[in-house]
Symmetry: C2
């Protein structure tokens, strides 16, 4: 069964299709027939899904550009390669660029679509849980720079998203958990019903149950779509869209501390969510039982709830002070008022933050250390 969620952004509205087996089914793509199509993907994804997708679209390998896999490919140099390729193929402004893969491919391809001839249509075919819930809604595209991630980019909405849950069957367990972190985040920040459903369905999600996955993705994307519709370009400081950063200020500190080498983004967010719940509880904003439910759910998703070995409260404080959300020298955090209700604020008791940091850093780190991420 295919679920279709309409992401409402006025004239930039688009359908988000969710279901098992979408990508290999020509019926999915009737709206794309007759248009000049080009597919961008990476070598790992290509090995599994490129030929079925090309078949379903009536295309051949010459219509596809296959990049090496990995975050290091998300560069302006690769964007330029893709622009050259599109120009050499004489793709006009009615062309459609298709991103088949995870967040790296989606962000890079979306950026190229945003700047090719001042913007052409693009389609997302996300093949990881993280990209299905995170990159499918929001319109953020971009590439990395030596000075940091996503420093060059644009807002560019896709014309359609196809989230095929059957592609998740081949996802490594750590990546699955990292994707689930973003789903838990959505429940915590704005949808108590989704949160309750995750408590019920966590085992099914970890076993890749198609219905549980599709429901979670749909509900998560619905919430994101509502928030993005209020603040499409994240132009409101402290506005609705900043709520999507719940757990991220703590998480970014962990990613920076570990030099992006051993923690997946979703793993760092998982820990950050636990820390945000703990701090919200210490401020008296979140009931202790509810904070406990949050931390328990994160743990059940096989996500870390302890900082990396050796990371101190001072490490957190100095790394968090560099966050984009710092305004006029004051740290802003997304914090919870209840499960499903959050707020962005710089107005909190820093003693509570100190207590949260002391609590998490004093606990013995998990004995198993996190293995390095695969180099790509």
């Amino acid at each position: 069964m295919t679920r279709v969620l309409k992401v409402e952004l006025g004239e930039r509205s688009y359908p988000l299709n969710i279901g098992a087996g979408l990508l290999a089914d020509p019926a999915s793509f009737v709206d794309l027939k007759g248009k000049p199509l080009r597919v961008v993907t990476d070598a790992n994804v290509a090995a599994r899904y490129l030929d079925p997708v090309l078949d379903a679209l009536g295309l051949t390998r010459e219509h596809a550009f296959v990049l090496p896999a990995g975050e290091t490919q998300k560069t302006l140099a690769n964007a330029e390669l893709l622009l050259d390729w599109l120009l050499a193929s004489r793709i006009a402004r009615d062309g459609v660029l298709i991103a088949l893969g995870g967040g790296v491919i989606g962000d890079l391809t979306g950026f190229v679509a945003a700047i090719y001839q001042r913007g052409i249509a693009f389609v997302q075919m996300p093949t990881t849980l993280l990209s299905q819930v995170d990159s499918s809604v929001g319109g953020k595209t971009g590439v990395n720079h030596a000075r940091g991630k996503n420093l060059i980019g644009a807002f560019h909405q896709p014309v359609a998203v196809y989230a095929d849950t059957s592609t998740l069957a081949t996802l490594p367990p750590r990546e699955l958990s990292a994707g689930i972190a973003e789903v838990i985040k959505c429940g915590m920040l704005g949808d108590s019903g989704l949160f309750a459903r995750l408590e019920r369905d966590m085992d099914a999600l970890l076993e890749l149950d198609g219905t549980a996955l599709a429901e979670a993705i749909e509900r998560c994307c619905q919430l994101k779509a509502r928030i993005v519709a209020l603040d499409e370009r994240e132009s409101l400081a402290g506005g609705p869209r900043t709520l999507l950063n719940l757990g991220h200020t703590f998480g970014h500190a962990v990613e920076t501390y570990t030099k992006y080498e051993s923690w997946l983004h979703g793993e760092a967010v998982g820990l950050g969510l636990a820390m945000a719940a703990d701090l919200s509880m210490r401020l008296g904003w979140l009931k202790p039982d509810d904070a406990e439910r949050c931390i328990r759910l994160i743990e059940r998703a096989r996500l870390p709830i302890r900082p990396p070995a050796g990371m101190t409260p001072d490490d957190f404080r100095s790394l968090m002070a560099r966050d984009k959300k710092v305004a006029a020298g004051k740290l802003r955090l997304v914090l919870m008022r209840a499960i499903g209700e959050s707020t962005t604020t710089a107005d909190f008791d820093t003693a509570a933050l100190d207590a949260t940091l002391a609590h998490f850093c004093s606990t013995e780190p998990a004995t198993e250390s996190r293995p390095a991420l695969p180099v790509s």
Copy 2:
């Protein structure tokens, strides 16, 4: 006297300030005070205007990036240099990028602002007549590619435009006439009052009369603003925004034929406007007297009304067939119904087009051949 025209684009609306001496007056820039500002310009413009502008803004040379002058600088490589510079200066998302110069600087700087951290504010300070009437309204930004002009870019509206008419005093006469071509175009396609005013004021414009210039720029930008508001991203095929291409299909053929080496864009547009008026007359859509008024006005602006020596009707036909506006094999043209009234259509008698081409190409070319453009 400063005229302020509000360009109405909903939440992307901005003021367009027109007047003599704006750039050297700190009072012009009160809205920019306190923000992180950076200025991009070229060596020619810098020699005349950079220091006064920096003084008025309270900045120094270290806040400015000076590129060599010329169209060859409008590259992705230069965009990357500017991105690196902004990142090295730690400009955050509240930064404002200022383009001080003609169309090349405006297009390049606007593009960098569009993709820096997914878009920061930018300000246009156009210093040529063409950029004051053409690039100030419309939000088109971009860079060139080996395969063609403006093939990489984005729509990104400025937050303010300052068109200082006193900068036109140093404009070479050919550049002035080329800028006037775009003003005449506005009158022909959508504002008969502007057209009549140009007939009255042409000599004053050529003598750089400040009031005549400011009036013409304002009226031209008003018309453009109305049209752009209807179709901000030029997404409607044959929609209102295509009217701004009056004369351009003929003009592009001339530019391509002469390899962009000897005709200024505005000169080619001037001839194209004459040809469009002639064709509209032959179709019975435009009164012969009115076609004559158009051609006479173009001539008075010291613009060419003859094709380059040696260019044949077949040259025009084959180069025009490559135009972006060709849809389903049929050439679309912007044509006139009256002075101030135009339409985009593929539904015209091609025999009339043949007659126009034969008429213009049979006439002896102007004896003086057009000198090569300065290499930059």
